[in-house]
């Protein structure tokens, strides 16, 4: 594309800096010298994708390798998509503005079900056939990976390979596989990589409606795909020269991954259930990485990333040392994941002496009984102790996350959210004597989504009408000063559940929805539930068979060929124990 044409495009779209590149720490390698060229794609808008650590890790690993090159691409916002399509221009990488179809590998993150329509859209704007079976010798290998890969079936027909699990090591093996001369050999080599699922080598067998069935290997492919795990996190490559976007992104800060995995095992949580074992980075490594990353980026905030950062064995010392070294330079430390207890608040006090933003807790349910069903290790007095410590030390904004539609949930459990929050607000007013006016409690309520590989994978989601009824209960009971209620759209949660527990047939519905115009489904203004309902019925499917149906413990499930390290019997034992617990 000539500069003139590119400038015309930029002059017509919102936030043109999404497409211009040149950010600090962007890597521009010699394309001709690279043996394998990889385009790393995040299927959402630039500001979201640039906040994703996984993309930065893979970018760093590939570009550190002498033979490989990686460039980035993101979903163009609809205004840019319209400009590209009306001119017949293909989607290009940011760094060298090369069309994606001229890369050897196009790697696309599967962060979350509602980005799947964007995945098809990116391929299509790039001029790459969306179905793997229609790709030829001149098309790139299209590889998926990320959290969504633990149930690869809904996207199976669109990918040449899907990596289940962690990518630091596998990405190098995948790039090597792409050096094979012909497509058939590339696929063969891909299939030999631990953790890589090559869908064309498997046949999906369906047993009635919904995700019951099996995915069976053809001529010698392995029966099960074992989730890829990096054994030594401390030694694993980590980018300290993190990209520094010009645009304000979702998270404009240094990210330090202090820990991977979660020891808590809440029964609904897919991230916790699939990302095992728990591994931590050492204090020395983290302090070194913090120094390097601050020097290389100039950010004024360091975020300590983990599912529950307070569970890191050296968290107290790490926090103290970081504050000691960076506080005087005006660089703040933040913890994205706190437990609701006094220790967490004490820790937050240590690190947030510089900046006092709000504190966030996730009790998930409002009664001790329901929390026990969830496997959530939190008692009500812990929550109050945390709140007391927070209010007493000057925090005046709290945010709390809850879910509705949980297994064994009654209307009383839902109403208890309102009651608990009112008690918390009264308690806060008492503690914050003289400053009560500043108290703000935000309550964010989402709907439970059953996810593969979790103990709750067999449980059906509440129907949308039922969720709407429970939301109405919330609205009636959750009233009062200082309280602000928000919830996620029930239609969005229904689609998330239907794709999350989807089988290979659901891919047809995703394609139909995309053809009917679905884009950016995680952005409320672009989401159209009726369009998705039509798409499912066009594919001969019903969303409720995937989202709402309870599955049998003895059913074969569409994702059973993927193993995340926990046996199905163990998941079953947990859910049975949880449901029994719910009766007491």
């Amino acid at each position: 594309m000539k500069d003139f044409d590119f400038d015309v495009l930029l002059s017509r779209v919102l936030k043109p800096a999404r497409y211009t590149n040149g950010e600090w720490n962007a890597v521009h390698k010699d394309r001709a010298a690279a043996r394998v060229r990889v385009a790393l794609v995040y299927p959402d808008v630039y500001e979201v994708g640039m906040s994703h650590l996984g993309l930065q890790i893979l970018y760093h690993v590939l570009n550190s390798h002498p033979d490989f090159l990686a460039e980035r691409a993101f979903s163009p916002w609809p205004d840019m998509e319209a400009e590209l399509r009306s001119r017949g221009l293909p989607l290009t990488s940011l760094e060298s503005r090369t069309p994606l179809r001229e890369f050897d590998v196009v790697g696309i993150t599967l962060p979350y079900e509602l980005t799947y329509s964007n995945v098809l859209n990116v391929l299509d704007i790039a001029g790459i056939p969306i179905r793997a079976a229609e790709r030829g010798e001149n098309d790139p290998l299209v590889i998926g990976g990320g959290p969504g890969a633990v149930n690869p079936e809904p996207m199976a027909e669109f990918f040449d390979g899907i990596l289940v699990g962690e990518g630091e090591e596998a990405i190098v093996e995948i790039a090597e596989a792409a050096t094979a001369p012909r497509r058939a050999e590339k696929l063969e080599r891909l299939a030999e990589i631990a953790g890589v699922y090559v869908p064309s080598r498997y046949e999906a067998v369906h047993e009635g409606a919904g995700p019951r069935g099996a995915v069976l290997p053809r001529n010698g492919a392995p029966e099960r795909i074992e989730r890829r795990v990096v054994e030594d996190l401390d030694a694993a490559p980590f980018p300290t020269r993190q990209l520094v976007p010009f645009l304000e992104t979702v998270h404009s800060r240094v990210t330090l991954e202090i820990m991977r995995g979660c020891a808590r095992g809440c029964h609904f949580c897919q991230a916790g259930a699939t990302c095992r074992p728990v591994r931590t980075r050492s204090l020395e490594t983290l302090l070194r990485q913090a120094e390097e990353a601050v020097a290389a980026t100039g950010h004024d905030e360091i975020s300590l990333l983990a599912f529950t950062s307070v569970d890191h064995r050296d968290i107290r010392e790490l926090a103290a040392k970081l504050v000691e070294r960076f506080g005087s330079r005006g660089i703040g430390i933040s913890l994205p994941s706190l437990r609701a207890d006094a220790f967490s608040v004490e820790l937050a006090n240590t690190i947030q002496r510089v900046r006092k933003t709000g504190l966030t807790f996730a009790p998930e349910a409002a009664t001790d009984r329901l929390r026990r069903v969830l496997g959530k290790q939190l008692a009500e007095h812990d929550l109050f102790a945390a709140a007391e410590a927070a209010f007493a030390s000057g925090w005046n904004r709290l945010k709390l996350y809850f879910m509705i539609g949980l297994p064994t949930e009654t209307d009383e459990d839902v109403a208890a959210i309102g009651d608990l929050m009112q008690r918390l607000a009264r308690f806060g007013r008492g503690v914050m004597e003289g400053k009560q006016g500043r108290l703000r409690i935000g309550i964010s309520v989402s709907a439970f989504v059953p996810k593969p590989h979790t103990p709750f994978q067999w449980v059906g989601q509440d129907r949308r009408e039922e969720l709407a009824r429970k939301q109405a209960i919330l609205q009636q009971t959750l009233r009062g000063h200082h309280l602000k209620l928000s919830w996620t759209d029930a239609g969005t949660s229904a689609l998330e559940a239907a794709i999350s527990r989807g089988d290979r047939r659901v891919g047809r519905a995703i394609e139909a929805a995309w053809r009917a115009g679905a884009r950016f489904d995680s952005w409320g203004e672009h989401f159209d539930f009726a369009r998705w309902e039509r798409a499912f019925s066009e594919a001969g499917l019903r969303m409720e068979d995937y989202a709402n149906a309870a599955l049998g413990y003895d059913d074969r499930l569409a994702w059973d060929h993927v193993s995340c390290g926990v046996r199905k019997e163990a998941l079953r034992a947990k859910v049975e124990a949880a449901l029994t617990e719910g009766e007491t």
């Binding site: 015309v8 800096a17 005006g330």
Partner: protein, 243 residues
């Protein structure tokens, strides 16, 4: 404690960066350069910095203005070098000089004039553009509606346009020079001038380049009437002289 004023270039590589994003970009570059930035007091400390009038999105600038405080005195030449090493391609420091110690916080309040080169690429006739310019300059008033501002209002652009000339005319390129009022007391945007000239067309690409910003009070002072000066010169800094 020392205040520095600097002039920087915003090149084509970064012309799509908004003013707010540019601020953050320079802040981060300063931290990477390990300059001892002086921070504001309070809950959310941030470096003490101020900028001259913002460039419109998509425009490049030759001599933009920035002032910042460092906690310690430093050699301006070294400050420039350290900062230049940490700026992304397209951003470049022209000069850095020390503000007079009595100056509390430089806010560039006196800056009220800006000169732009407007390049129109596409099928345009220079003759047509010239006659439109003539019409525009002869008009008694040029009312423009500003919907983006609150309250919405009508503004007369004519007194805000100090001069407008065609300085270069080729086959598919016409370059205009516009000297426009700017700053907090009201200003004209170069895009508004282009709109009045009828050049906002699908087949035209418009490039905006700001050559400098000025303080007219000083430029029109008795001794230097009619002389356009670089801002730095009028502040007693190492200026490059008038245009």
């Amino acid at each position: 404690m020392a205040q520095f004023v600097c002039r920087y270039r915003k090149g084509p590589e970064v012309r799509w960066i908004s003013h707010l994003d540019l601020k953050r970009t320079i802040e981060r570059a300063m931290r990477r350069a390990e300059l001892p930035l002086e921070l504001t007091q309070g809950h959310n400390p941030h470096p003490k910095m101020s900028f001259g009038p913002p460039l419109p999105m998509g425009a490049t600038g030759e001599a933009e203005l920035l002032a910042f405080h460092l906690a310690q005195a430093a050699d301006p030449a070294q400050v420039k070098e350290r900062l230049d090493n940490q700026l992304p391609p397209g951003l470049e420091i022209g000069e850095v000089w020390l503000a007079p110690p009595q100056k509390k916080k430089e806010t560039f309040g006196e800056v009220d004039l800006a000169e732009y080169l407007i390049t129109v690429t596409g099928q345009v006739s220079a003759e047509q553009v010239r006659s439109r310019v003539k019409e525009l300059l002869e008009a008694g008033e040029l009312m423009v509606h500003r919907g983006g501002e609150r309250p919405e209002r009508e503004v007369d652009l004519r007194p805000l346009i100090q001069s407008l000339d065609v300085v270069q005319a080729g086959d598919d390129e016409v370059v205009l020079r516009a000297r426009l009022k700017t700053g907090s007391h009201g200003g004209a945007r170069p895009q508004e001038v282009v709109q009045f000239l009828g050049l906002e067309r699908d087949d035209c690409l418009i490039g905006y380049h700001r050559t400098g910003v000025y303080a007219s009070a000083e430029a029109t002072a008795p001794k230097s009437r009619g002389v356009w000066r670089r801002w730095s010169r009028s502040r007693g800094g190492p200026g490059r002289g008038g245009t």
